[in-house]
Structures are given as C-alpha cells and as structure tokens.
Symmetry: C2
Subunit: 226 residues, 2 copies
Amino acid sequence: MNTSVHEPEPSFPSRRGVNKPLPVKNPKSKDRSAERSSKRQDLVRYGTELLTEQGYQATGIDQVLKKVGVPKGSFYHFFKSKDEFGSAVIENYVDFYAKKMDKIFNTPSTEPLQRLKNFVEKAKYDMVRFEFRRGCLIGNMGQELASINDGFRVQLEEVLVSWEIKVTACLQEAIDRLDISGQTDAAALSRFFWIGWEGAILRSKLTKSVQPIDHFADLFFSKVAK
Amino acid sequence: MNTSVHEPEPSFPSRRGVNKPLPVKNPKSKDRSAERSSKRQDLVRYGTELLTEQGYQATGIDQVLKKVGVPKGSFYHFFKSKDEFGSAVIENYVDFYAKKMDKIFNTPSTEPLQRLKNFVEKAKYDMVRFEFRRGCLIGNMGQELASINDGFRVQLEEVLVSWEIKVTACLQEAIDRLDISGQTDAAALSRFFWIGWEGAILRSKLTKSVQPIDHFADLFFSKVAK
C-alpha cells in the first residue's frame, strides 16, 4: 500500500501520552482573536485525544484546560457546555477521519477493493501505533453515550452513515468492474462492513492485537464482497 | 421461535428504571449470613443494571448502595474495591447470559442454524424490551475499559471467547449436517459472528432500531454461514 497514508496527522497528535503538558506558546506572536481560535483548536485537539482514550464521562474539563494552559474559569468563553465541547471534538475527529479516508479512497489508480484493503491496513497500523489504546472515537462514544445522550446518539450515527457512503462508492466501483458479483447491493455491503468494523476495532482493543481486524477483513473479502 | 426464551430473567431485572428504589426487605426474616449474601447479590444485580446502562466509570458506588439500601460505609464489607465489584458484576452477567444461551442452543430438536437465528431474535426482542438502552454489558465495558484497565480487558475478552465456543459447537453441527458447506471452519465463522455482533448491537443502540442487527444477521446467514 501507499506508505504516505502513514504520515502523522497534525490534528490528532500521537504518542505524546495524555498526561504530558503541551509546550507553552508565546501569546505575543498572535493577535487576540487568532490566539483565541488557536486555544479553542488546542482544546478540541487534546479533547479528541483524551476522549478517545478515556471516554467522555471520565474526562474532566479541568484535565483538558490544564493541558492546554487555559485557566479554569475560561472554558465557557470557548464552549457553552461540556456537550458543545464534545460535539466539537466529534466534528474535529470527523474532519480528520474524512481526510484520512479521502487519501485512501480518492486514488483512481488503485483498484477499488484494494483501496478498502488499504483502509484496513491503515487502521491496523494506527491501532499498533497507539498501542491499542484508542480505537475509534465514534465507536467509543457511541457505546458510552447512545443510551444517555440523544444529541450525541444522532450525531454519532450520522458520522457512521457518512463513512458508509464513502465505502459504498468504492464498492460500487468494484461492482461496476465486476470485481464483485453484479447482483450485489453496494450500500448493503458497505453497511455490513461498517456494522462489523466497529466490532472488530473493539475486539482489537480487547486482545491488544490486530488479529480480530484481520479475521473480520479476511472473511469480509472472501465471503461477502466477492 | 420458542417464546419461552422471552420470559423475564430474575437475575437482571427489567424495566424498573435505574432510579427507582428497591422494595425494603424485612431483615428479621433471614439470619445474618443469608442476609449478607442476599444484600451482596442485590448489589451485584443492580450493579449489572446500572453498569450496562450508564457505564462503569460513570456509575458511583453510592448510587448502587442507595438503591439496595446498604449504608455508605458498608461497601467494603462486601467487596475489596470497585474493581472487585465490577468483576462480580461481569460474572453475574456471564452466568445470566450462559443460561440464556443454553436455553436457546441446547435444543437438539431445533435445526442448528435456526438456533442461532433464534438467538438473534431473542437479542432483538431484548433490545426493544429495554428500549435500546442496554445493549451488551461486555461490549459496553470492553469499549470503555479495554484501554485503561488490563484486568477487565482480559476478563471481558475471555467472556467473548466463551460465547464463541458455544456458537462454534452450533455451527459445527450445521456443517456436519451439510447445512453449511463442508469446507468451512466453524470456529472461524463463530469468531466472525461475534466480532461483527458487538458492532451490530452498538449500531442498534445508535439507531434505536433492530435494523442493524437484522442487516448483519441477514448477510451473515446468506453470505457467510452458507
């Protein structure tokens, strides 16, 4: 696969570990509005990291503020509520993930099923890179919050549907090329992929191994998308 | 399917809702040891309900104690730590779930693939019964705790493997009867089923609908276990 998809993503920083403080920036180098916007982005970025590893309810706002160097009382200058912050974190993750997916799927020179296989490989690479601590923010928050927060429930399902649409387009190309039997519904296959995928990421976290991802992908490609 | 599998389960009480107190029992009716054992069982039982709906970290011990009518200071008479309590909750859920599965799978007069289909129907029934609030305690706790608690991570994966073994036996019977192609590995199919299954339960919670379960099961039976 194209190794360029393995480059570090700037908006979702990597193995720094959740307890190390950010380097202090010089506020004089930016005007006030730019600084505010930058601080907000830092809060969202490190919120993404913390929420993915620790969960939403277990992550205190104070922990995020401390890390970014924002005074305790200033949180509400940036967000109306913790829920608004959580929503911004989801949006940030979705932007980051859309870029990641586009980099893999918007590659006409690669055969469509190979693109989906490259997506699987990239996910395995990231699981190992983050030592199986993170998995998928959407799956994590979905499992934690679907029952207790209807706003998040709807937002998270919409994200998964948007990912289904990207994979549907890829699978439709494979069907059009007859790489998959023509009697197959690309949207149905994509939905099946995404339903199972979040389960595979969960099992990968539980086993600290990519084996469940490989197992799911192997049978998906040999039995379902064929 | 056999409607008897739809009976309420005594060890995992139902739609009471997590905030309603238990009826007070008369302590004089039991000796001290029996009462202690009964209180412990109540703590575990209602812990199961609360942890499944709210998650582990968000559930305070105080909330469980209050519900069961145990004084705040008495928790450590029953459990050494919250983690030991969490472990006992998992064990209780596993016992309850093993009985539920055995009731469905230990039915020689039902064709093996139909047994697995009955399992799917029972899960759908329960998702609706609990208004999509609960899902699977093991999937919920796995998603929440795999990254941050190694003891739970190992215990939860063991549970899923034990469920895989039950479904493997069922699928092996289907293979032996040639209901599934003889060149299929029952253990591999069962693992695929369980990997995807936890994803289907998550999506069912997110959509408040059984559609993702049906979607996963339909393609599993038509494309994978065939």
